[in-house]
Symmetry: C2
Subunit: 401 residues, 2 copies
């Protein structure tokens, strides 16, 4: 169409968007779809009764809950988050350096809009969160992936790659990492690797964006210290969200920024959505003030651990050929189905068995994910997990026979 901007570069919609759209269509048509697709919490683990009471209280008693908020967000929320961050993420975030965004999706997007020039190299974990990769690509960044193991990326390979790229005169801007409960691999980076990553960033003068989305969904042991907690050079820019413990539907995320970054992020944010939803911000204030987050974090840990274990046992019973590593945090498990095309597999599984999963390939910067699918274990019920894995097994055997 002649009116379209020349800036537009068409990028295939993220598989998440396609799958969520298809789930919506199939549900509307009367099918029961079991979704292992999105990174949603279990809507019965989220303390919905309390949130319902809070939302009603907030709308009735706080006029501001139905009005615009400052672009940086409601001050009381920034104050509560400052305390929350100190307790859970172990670093100091002053309320005036927190910008409330529409989920951590918006936090990343706003941030990289002011950092990335087309052609800049961004180092990402391989695999990494598909919507984040999409955001980088849309700005014209060149992605360089470093393989993830169960204790995080290989930092020595990372340094090798960076050194080589620098020697070639390439411009590397930043490293994007989800160190805890990594999406989609489920990996959690070891403390040594966290320190090493920061050293490398310092040595080669790179920024790190630390995506803390899964920091409050640690299923075993205690949360490792954040990379930000070691940072003395303002080199790490943290983004976070209450999505995984309060609900993805509220769209409450944040970025913690220096004054300069904040100035530009706010400038970008104004025309994009003016402010994050007031209703969600005021609910979040009470969610934190009344310590509802503690209930939610505790419940998530217990329930998701059980669900993960059910998923793993089901896989071990039903799909012996499958390969995966056991996540100690987060909501996902990457499943390798040897000799199967993961993209076709996910499509068939949806159309034939009404089970939604994401193909592994779009999460990778190379071809390694071609025989993989990503499974979410937090949202589906235990029975649905069993049924879904059962059907994955059935389809796998159909395709292999």
């Amino acid at each position: 169409m002649k009116f379209l901007s020349h800036r537009i570069s068409w990028i295939e919609p993220s598989p998440l968007a396609k799958v969520l759209g298809r789930i919506s269509e199939l549900s509307k048509a009367g099918f029961k779809v079991i979704s292992l697709a999105a990174g949603d919490p279990d809507p019965d683990v989220v303390p919905r009764k309390i949130l319902a009471e809070i939302s009603s209280y907030v709308i009735e008693n706080i006029p501001g809950s139905v009005l615009y908020t400052p672009t940086t967000g409601v001050e009381d929320l920034r104050i509560e988050l400052s305390k929350f961050i100190k307790e859970y993420d172990g670093y100091e975030a002053y309320p005036e350096n927190i910008i409330i965004t529409s989920g951590s999706t918006a936090a990343l997007d706003l941030l990289i809009r002011i950092l990335i020039d087309p052609g800049d190299i961004v180092v990402v974990e391989n695999p990494s969160y598909v919507v984040s990769l999409y955001a980088f690509k849309q700005l014209g960044a060149n992605l360089v992936g470093v393989d993830v193991y169960s204790d995080g990326i290989d930092t020595y390979t990372l340094e090798d790659k960076i050194r080589r790229l620098k020697n070639e005169g390439k411009k590397i801007k930043l490293i994007y990492t989800i160190p805890t409960g990594q999406n989609p691999s489920g990996a959690t980076m070891s403390i040594d690797k966290r320190r090493h990553l920061l050293e490398i960033a310092s040595k080669y003068d790179l920024l790190i964006i630390e995506d803390m989305a899964y920091n409050y969904v640690v299923l075993e042991g205690s949360s490792p210290p954040t990379i930000k907690s070691f940072d003395r050079e303002d080199r790490v820019i943290p983004i976070g969200t209450l999505s995984k413990i309060m609900g993805t539907g509220f769209r409450v995320g944040w970025v913690v920024a220096t004054d300069l970054i904040k100035k530009y992020v706010v400038s970008e944010k104004q025309p994009i959505d003016y402010c994050a939803p007031a209703i969600s911000q005021y609910i979040a204030i009470e969610f934190l003030r009344r310590d509802v987050h503690k209930i939610s974090i505790e419940r998530s840990r217990e329930v998701y651990r059980v669900k993960r274990d059910v998923m793993i046992r089901s896989i071990e019973e039903k799909i012996r050929e499958a390969e995966f590593s056991k996540p100690v945090a987060g909501m996902f498990l990457m499943l390798r189905l040897p000799n199967v095309d993961g993209t076709l597999f996910a499509e068939n599984l949806m159309e034939k068995y009404k089970v939604a999963v994401l193909p592994g390939k779009p999460f990778y910067t190379d071809d390694k994910g071609r025989d993989m699918i990503r499974l979410n274990f937090s949202r589906p019920s235990i029975d649905d997990i069993k049924e879904a894995v059962d059907k994955i097994g059935v389809l796998y055997r159909e395709l292999k026979s």
Copy 2:
């Protein structure tokens, strides 16, 4: 800072953002600030008790209200909006062509991201909504303003300007208009001008973005037909919002787009915020289904008409030198204070008298707004309107003496 993108062009924050930030600071410091600044509804006109009940119902009973939604929005909301649009805006919007956005702010922003190339000319009303102007500028558009009268822009001048620019070989992309209850002038475009504007767009092959934010806040008479209702060429792209009747704090807006525009808008939207807040979308469904919007529209009309009249009477009594035209729709009145610098005036009014208004200048593409301030009459109470106008009068006399 060396990490910043070269793409960044620093644009002075919109005065709305600055003023809302300052209100927040002053309130925190214990001052009572009367705000005539933002385009917020009266939080007591918005049926908050019913919304409180709805929100509680929704969170408790609809698991999806705390989860991600499809990027295009919840289907049931698109169905309800399709009916609402047909009734109130008089055109056919199929649910599959509606994209739910985070307020109409996001609707405009997403749309122009896929339409505007740097250097493109965008024709706007002079004055026009400052955040929209800001969004255009940020994408590198060149704004050409056409003066607004109480019955809308002068379409003959508009055609002259377009003809001249075309003759000079300039690339004009679109016309952006807020035909009803225009922000900030309060003007409502006559039916003849609406038809003429569409003819001109057709003749010179331009798009029209019709911003319908104030269509449901018509204070006198009936709503004029929308420009879109005359459109047979898919030339008009409508954007709308429930903000003014349900609350700006929910961030529920929409754009109605052809399949092609939709494809690109959705592609832009994904990395920006993934989806509009689910909680707000589900509340909006019930707001429309239960006919709460009818209550709100009726109440807004009655209350805002009274408030407008109080404001006008107060101005006539207290500031005889002031000039303005009486709005028949919308939430704003532009006040000319002869021989005063509106920007300094607004600053002094805030700091000395704790009354927040916006300077007129940033709403203009030229210097015409230099002695103007924009007043909102929907949000403040009647007593606050009187007090605020009184203080505007006092400061005006101080400055003139």
